[in-house]
């Protein structure tokens, strides 16, 4: 059940290329499950709230990790401690967590966000994390994951940190030898598509993005093409989809 409420900003700080924003919002924090997101508005401009994965939950405080790419994120980046924002959440279908051992998480850039809480829930199952970025500035400290994951593989396109190249390369190598119970992925659509291809018959749980207006299912604006049911809403039917549901060729 989603809550529409005010939350108070408790911290805003730059984390490499991103901003980490923490907001006190107890009711949402209590009910949130990994993979879910919240819609955040900081004022009347921009008009529409913006969707962000809930990265961390700690004593009633939600943390988000986001990239400042435009008006809405710019507005959020300029918030200060004590400011009040409007939140709607938790929203969307979470990741399945009733899975076997050594599940794999693949994160691209800001796609790392939902894996903080997911890793915590999966920690008994020795998850692996594949984490890629364009440059090292896109790779957040992985200290948090070290105690929760059995392996962490990092890559950057320019080789500034970890493997040089796309994260899907070491991921493909790993998959050639192992069969995880499930593959979670969050990142750019091109990466997700590649993950789905590489996964073959291994179940995938892919966190998709789309421009959203409402975030809770009423505008049908955020659809992606799926095989079974045509256009489906990322906000309500997702954001987590199985890779084989998606008609990748029709996805922009």
């Amino acid at each position: 059940m989603a809550h529409y409420m005010r939350g108070m900003v408790t911290a805003v700080r730059p984390v490499k290329e991103y901003v980490r924003l923490s907001i006190k919002a107890e009711r949402i924090a209590e009910e949130m499950q990994p993979g879910q997101f919240a819609m955040i508005s900081a004022g009347t401009e921009p008009l529409l709230p913006r969707p962000f994965s809930i990265a961390h939950v700690d004593r009633g405080v939600l943390s988000f990790i986001f990239q400042d790419v435009g008006r809405g994120t710019g507005m959020l980046a300029s918030l200060r401690v004590g400011d009040s924002v409007r939140l709607l959440g938790p929203l969307g279908k979470p990741f399945r967590v009733d899975v076997g051992d050594r599940p794999v998480m693949v994160a691209g850039g800001r796609g790392i966000a939902p894996f903080f809480e997911l890793a915590r829930r999966l920690s008994g199952r020795s998850p692996l994390l594949f984490y890629g970025g364009r440059t090292q500035a896109q790779i957040i400290e992985t200290g948090f994951f070290v105690r929760l994951c059995s392996e962490i593989i990092v890559s950057t396109e320019d080789g500034g940190m970890g493997h040089k190249g796309f994260i899907t390369e070491p991921f493909a190598e790993y998959l050639a030898k192992s069969t995880p119970p499930v593959i979670y992925a969050c990142g750019p659509h091109a990466m997700l598509r590649r993950v789905a291809e590489i996964a073959g018959s291994v179940p995938t749980e892919l966190s998709m993005e789309a421009r959203m207006a409402c975030g809770y299912g009423i505008c049908i604006g955020c659809v992606i093409p799926t095989g079974r049911e045509g256009y489906r809403r990322v906000c309500l039917d997702g954001p987590v989809f199985s890779g084989d549901e998606i008609r990748w060729q029709d996805l922009k």
Partner: protein, 311 residues
């Protein structure tokens, strides 16, 4: 609540705040936040006879104080609606109005007939104004003749109250409203979205996949208030005001311009409880002013015309 009821033909609405079509789906999701039985009614997303897949994404783009959409009337069709979604709405005590679509006049009539027969549908709102469905954004609501002939035809198919939803993309909205009235409409609602377009200057692609989209939200409110003013001076049937309503003050602007009821659309995306806030705010406004709703309808005063330029 005394003094808030509004009549649309034979239908008596509890109060003048409705949810606008396309902005609340079939009501399920918003029912988490809003007690539908406490509102004047819900107008569900536009329905054809058959299911429709709608337009490809991207479907929405935010513009200054507004948004463009090209949802394209994705929907489950009137029959599935009646079977699968109407029961929950009835159970919730909602006053249900179906937004009726058609590719042809015949289809409008067919959908209306189904509504007429279904218990729990209280009225229909004929969407003669959706800019997404016909070539170059054209729709029956762009012509007086087509409006008149379509409404006359549909009127015969239904004994329930018939609302006609007008397009703002016309030269003379009051003339179209008059045609709708003459055709037998019990009320008109306006405005639907204004045709717009936006382009990504990096890629050259239009921001919605279909090129044009419908503009909604606060940006269009002054246009909507103006049209409600014009229409309410041209027809005797009730006028339902729509366009960028976010709070009670916005709604009261529409009442003063001549609307008897309002619909809340895009605001539901920004704030799921917007409609409840609008309703509560109207009540406190009326209490503060010591007035009944019908005492403020159409009361706006044009400043000082006597001195103005010709016209």
């Amino acid at each position: 609540m005394a003094g808030l009821e509004v009549s649309i033909g034979s239908l008596r609405l509890r109060n003048p705040v409705l949810l606008a079509s396309g902005c609340v789906g079939y009501g399920e999701e918003i029912a988490q936040f809003v007690d539908l039985s406490a509102l004047g009614g819900i107008v569900v997303k536009g329905l054809y006879m058959s299911p429709r897949i709608g337009n490809p994404p991207p479907r929405i783009w935010e513009t200054p104080s507004g948004m463009l959409n090209s949802i394209g009337l994705q929907g489950i069709g009137i029959h599935r609606f009646v079977r699968e979604r109407l029961p929950a709405l009835r159970q919730g005590g909602a006053t249900v109005i179906v937004n009726v679509c058609g590719e042809t006049d015949e289809e409008y009539e067919q959908v209306t007939r189904v509504c007429d027969e279904a218990d729990g549908i209280h009225a229909t709102e004929l969407n003669i104004s959706c800019p997404n469905i016909q070539e170059n954004g054209r729709c029956p609501g762009m012509s007086q003749e087509h409006t008149y002939s379509l409404i006359s035809r549909v009127r015969k198919a239904s004994s329930k109250p018939l609302i006609v939803k007008l397009s703002p993309n016309v030269t003379d909205v009051a003339a179209i409203a008059t045609s709708a009235e003459q055709g037998g409409a019990d009320a008109v609602s306006l405005i639907n979205t204004v045709l717009g377009m936006s382009i990504d200057t990096e890629t050259g692609e239009t921001r919605t996949a279909t090129g044009m989209g419908g503009l909604s939200g606060p940006a269009i409110r002054p246009i909507a208030v103006r049209m409600v003013y014009q229409v309410s001076h041209a027809v005797r049937i009730p006028v339902i005001g729509i366009g960028g309503i976010c709070d009670a003050r916005d709604a009261i602007e529409f009442f003063m311009a001549g609307a008897s009821a309002v619909q809340v659309g895009t605001a539901n995306f920004m704030n799921p409880v917007a409609s409840m806030e609008v309703l509560a705010g109207i009540k406190s406004y009326l209490a503060r002013k010591g007035k009944k709703l019908n005492e403020i309808i159409g009361t706006c005063q044009i400043g000082r015309v006597q001195e103005s330029e010709p016209g």
